[in-house]
Amino acid sequence: MSQPLVEMNNIHKRFGGIHAVEDMSLELHPGEVVGLLGHNGAGKSTFIKMLSGAYQVDSGEILIDGQPVQIRNPIDAKELGIETIYQTLALADNLDTAANIFFGREILTPWGALDEPAMEHAAIGVMKRLNPQFRKFHDPVSNLSGGQRQSVAIARALQFNARIIIMDEPTAALGPHETQMVADLIKALKKEGIAIVMISHDLHDVFDLSDRIAVMKNGRHVWTGATTETDKDQVLQMVILGKLPDGSYAPGILTSEDA
């Protein structure tokens, strides 16, 4: 297999006495969608936030293109081509589309002022790829529909040539039509060679869109494998009980109260 784009090896993260992530590993290849599954509190969000720069790893290593990297904050992550689309979308509701796409990375004129026309021009270009009908460039994003807001959040990743996109519950707040739109979009991004990690509760979406599935429970790795090798029942068992397809349990999953 090709060189992985991202390798996260033996990652640990503690918050006080709580071991939020314990010895979790994951790799990502170009043009691949990996669905990361687990209960609330399974540690998947914490794990992924260490890739997006919101948290720092306690121990373990992250490699990009085989090179070890330090991701200390969201800016480091973005410089490595890692973009995150949060469940809350993390949009500033009072700003317009262009201001949100470029939030934190504004285009400046030679004398250091914001170059609004240039940002609006680029915003129109990138939004056209996602949502050709979109017109409300001068509205604050609070006036946009759920799907439109989602496209603004995704546009923010595309504008800066992301190689790795992390999506936290991309379809949780959307209607069926908009969910379909996001699904089409993910397929399009895949074709461009972008690697995607998708955190989701929706098994249907995960089976529909992902190439591989990784399951976490109690901060630990349960199973990783091709989507075609498994089915929804097996995955449910892994998510809820940590029970592997062969009937055994993943190491370290069983706690005294489970047993």
Partner: protein, 407 residues
């Protein structure tokens, strides 16, 4: 090159929607300007033609300057979900500090005393504000509490400096900043420069949008707007020149405090709308978490905003003490509430994220017009305060209705 918005045909309906939208954005501002015009018309009639005389308008502009100056900074503070209650006390402290430097540290009436003392005041103001901002940003102590502490602390610190003694008289060059004016010809020069800068900025924006293939307003409309602004500037300069020095034909021209306000307001509007810092203030106010996740150094943004209002407070202290030719401890009492009221009347929402500097300037002018007009009509100060309270609450009520209707 990619096709852009301007190349696709725009339907009439779409264009109407755009026009109504651009007007909608300004309806609030227009309503406020309308309110100011109505207030002016009322007082002009009720005072028998005194209110709109050049002399009264000249005084009104000087009276508005300190509140308006500080309101430009307060807008950014409130937009980023904070508040600053300390500015009145800090202004008194900085005034006393400046007077102390002029009279005790440096030779009185020394050639350089005036500007050195001003620099010391601005530096101390920025430092004091920055320290308050640091407490707020670094330790997550609510701004209300930190600056309430500042309100008590700074006036106390001012007392310690002079044991409560009023510092007076101050430097004569310094006192120009309070009540001096720049004369007729310089006023026209200032007006013409301001107009030229505005015209250049409009032309740059138009040319830039055109170069990127955007729709631009018809040249006639753009020219009409620029001409209207030019006429307003000319009317302003003519009015300021219309108030003569006693027993002469020489007009006073633009008062120095108002000139300072104009420069500060222009800089602050630029900062709010065309710099990264300004964008982060609004973005942070809209969604602090989004700003953090976007990699914005939110701590630095908050500290800078407080250092900025601290520096503005120092400029306000220069104007206030120069006007009195003295630095008493009682100066700036309740100023913070006036400034917050001006910002709020001007459409700044206390929940953060929205508010414009232009709105706050008009808010300050509206409040000062009411006060000035009531004084002309001989209204006692107690009913004056009660009427101002009513106006403040009415303005916020209007805003609530307006915001509801928009959604």
């Amino acid at each position: 090159m990619e096709r852009t918005a301007a190349e696709r045909p725009v339907s009439v309906g779409e264009r109407l929607r755009q026009v109504s939208q651009s007007v909608q954005m300004d309806t609030r501002l227009l309503a406020m300007i309308g309110a100011v015009v109505a207030i002016w018309a009322f007082f002009e009639i009720a005072s028998g033609g005194i209110f709109l005389s050049p002399r009264n308008l000249w005084n009104l502009s000087v009276q508005t300057s300190v509140t308006a100056l500080l309101a430009t900074g307060m807008v950014l503070i409130i937009v980023s979900r904070n508040i600053d209650l300390s500015i009145g006390s800090l202004l008194a402290f900085l005034g006393i500090l400046g007077g102390f430097v002029q009279t005790e540290v440096l030779p009185l009436e020394g050639t350089h005393s005036w500007w050195i003392s001003i620099l010391v005041m601005i530096g101390a103001g920025a430092l004091a504000g920055g320290m308050q901002g640091w407490l707020i940003a670094r330790f997550a102590i609510p701004a209300f509490v930190v600056t309430l502490g500042g309100l008590m602390f700074w006036r106390g610190a001012g007392w310690l400096f002079t044991q409560g003694r009023t510092v007076t008289p101050l430097d004569t060059t310094y006192s120009v900043f309070g009540g001096g004016s720049i004369g007729e010809s310089w006023s026209w020069v200032v007006g013409a420069t301001g107009f030229a800068l505005l015209a250049l900025l409009t032309a740059w924006k138009r040319q830039r949008r055109k170069a990127l293939g955007f729709q631009v307003k018809p040249a006639s409309v753009e020219l009409a707007i620029v001409a209207a602004v030019g006429a307003l500037i000319a009317a302003f300069v003519a009015t300021m020149n219309g108030y003569d020095f006693p027993r002469t034909e020489d007009g006073r021209g633009i008062p120095v405090p108002v000139l300072i306000l104009i420069v500060v307001a222009a800089v602050m509007i630029y900062v709010a709308n065309m710099t990264r810092f300004g964008r982060y203030i609004y973005g942070y106010g809209g969604n602090p978490e989004a700003a953090q996740l976007a990699g914005v150094n939110t701590r630095r943004v908050v500290i800078t905003s407080f250092a900025l209002i601290g520096a503005l407070t120092a400029i306000g202290a220069v104007i206030s003490t120069a006007r009195l030719n003295a630095a008493p401890l009682s100066i700036g009492n309740l100023l913070e509430l006036q400034v917050i009221a001006a910002a709020v009347i001007g459409g700044t929402s206390l929940s953060g994220g929205t508010g414009t500097i232009l709105g706050a300037l008009i808010g300050a002018l509206l409040m000062q017009s009411l006060q000035n007009g009531m004084v002309l009509l001989g209204v006692q100060s107690a009913p004056q305060q009660m009427i101002m309270a009513g106006v403040l609450i009415f303005a916020v009520w209007f805003d609530v209705i307006y915001q509801k209707r928009r959604v």
